[in-house]
């Protein structure tokens, strides 16, 4: 129960960060990705602020040995750069630059009952299932 509440709080804080930074607004995200338009560099500072904190977190927190509400840390270990990584990132980027939503902002934007966010999220879940059927064969 504590682990669930903790995860809920993390999602809540993450979502607030998206709203405060303006990243929950797809128009603002597209204002960054559309470099030929009226360019808005804000997204770069959002990333800078987030990565700076995450850098410190990943440097120091795993040294504690064990998370507060879980048995162990589960941190990715893969280092290989392969086709799925690159092709998947390219396909993701094409969708991101078309709609202005990546997964986090799209999910928190559901709260506005925006029709394009709802359609996007349903399609995003379907896209993940499609990948699993076509590529992973499951």
């Amino acid at each position: 129960m504590k682990a669930l509440l903790s995860s809920l709080a993390a999602g809540f804080l993450f979502g607030l960060g998206l709203w405060i930074s303006g990243m929950a607004n797809p128009k603002k995200v597209l204002g960054f990705l559309d470099v030929t338009g009226d360019w808005d560099a804000s997204l770069m500072l959002v990333m800078a602020g987030a990565v700076a904190v995450a850098f410190l977190a990943f440097r120091f927190i795993p040294r504690r040995g064990k998370p507060i509400f879980a048995m162990k840390f589960e941190i990715p270990t893969r280092k290989d750069i392969d086709l799925p990584l690159v092709a998947g990132a390219a396909i993701f980027g094409l969708g991101w630059g078309t709609a202005g939503y990546c997964p986090g902002p799209a999910l928190t934007a559901l709260a506005t009952l925006s029709t394009d966010a709802i359609v996007f999220v349903v399609a995003m879940i379907a896209g993940g299932l499609l990948q699993r059927m076509l590529v992973a064969g499951k």
């Binding site: 809540f12 990943f58 990715p76 980027g93 969708g95 991101w96 359609v119």
Partner: protein, 140 residues
């Protein structure tokens, strides 16, 4: 660049970083939203993932209560929203991460794998934004 909002961007970004730090310290997990979403539906015993997603959506509700109604985009073609969503779902699952997993946490972990993903999805995102807005005239 009259839309540039450096202070709220940095502050909001730091909050996203803190949320990721909290999920790591408390739950031992990486805050990668695409992985959390895809695995919430696949993996057994992953209630923490559902809780994280609920938190994300609740933040949107709380924000509207605190800050008032937010502008909701009107007129974005739903066919394009569906196509973009399919691509984002497919691509993030194939590459194993998105802006949070590869972006925030991957760069935070100084992972070369994530850096490659970030450079590729940023470039593809800029290309798609240019093509859809300026060549195809998709309204956004």
């Amino acid at each position: 660049m009259h839309n540039f909002t450096p202070i709220s961007a940095l502050f909001g970004g730091a909050l996203i970083g803190l949320a990721s730090a909290w999920l790591l310290a408390a739950n031992g997990r990486v805050a990668g939203v695409s992985g959390i979403l895809h695995d919430a539906l696949a993996a057994p015993a992953s209630a923490w993932r559902g809780a994280f997603i609920a938190g994300l959506i609740l933040a949107g509700v709380a924000w509207q209560l605190l800050a008032g109604p937010v502008p909701v985009r009107e007129g974005f073609p739903l066919g394009w929203a569906a196509a973009a969503g399919l691509a984002v779902g497919f691509g993030t699952r194939w590459s194993g991460g998105c802006t949070s997993g590869h972006g925030v946490c991957g760069l935070g972990r100084v992972s070369a794998r994530s850096l490659v993903a970030v450079l590729v999805f940023m470039a593809a995102g800029m290309l798609a934004a240019y093509v859809t807005r300026h060549l195809l005239g998709v309204a956004s």
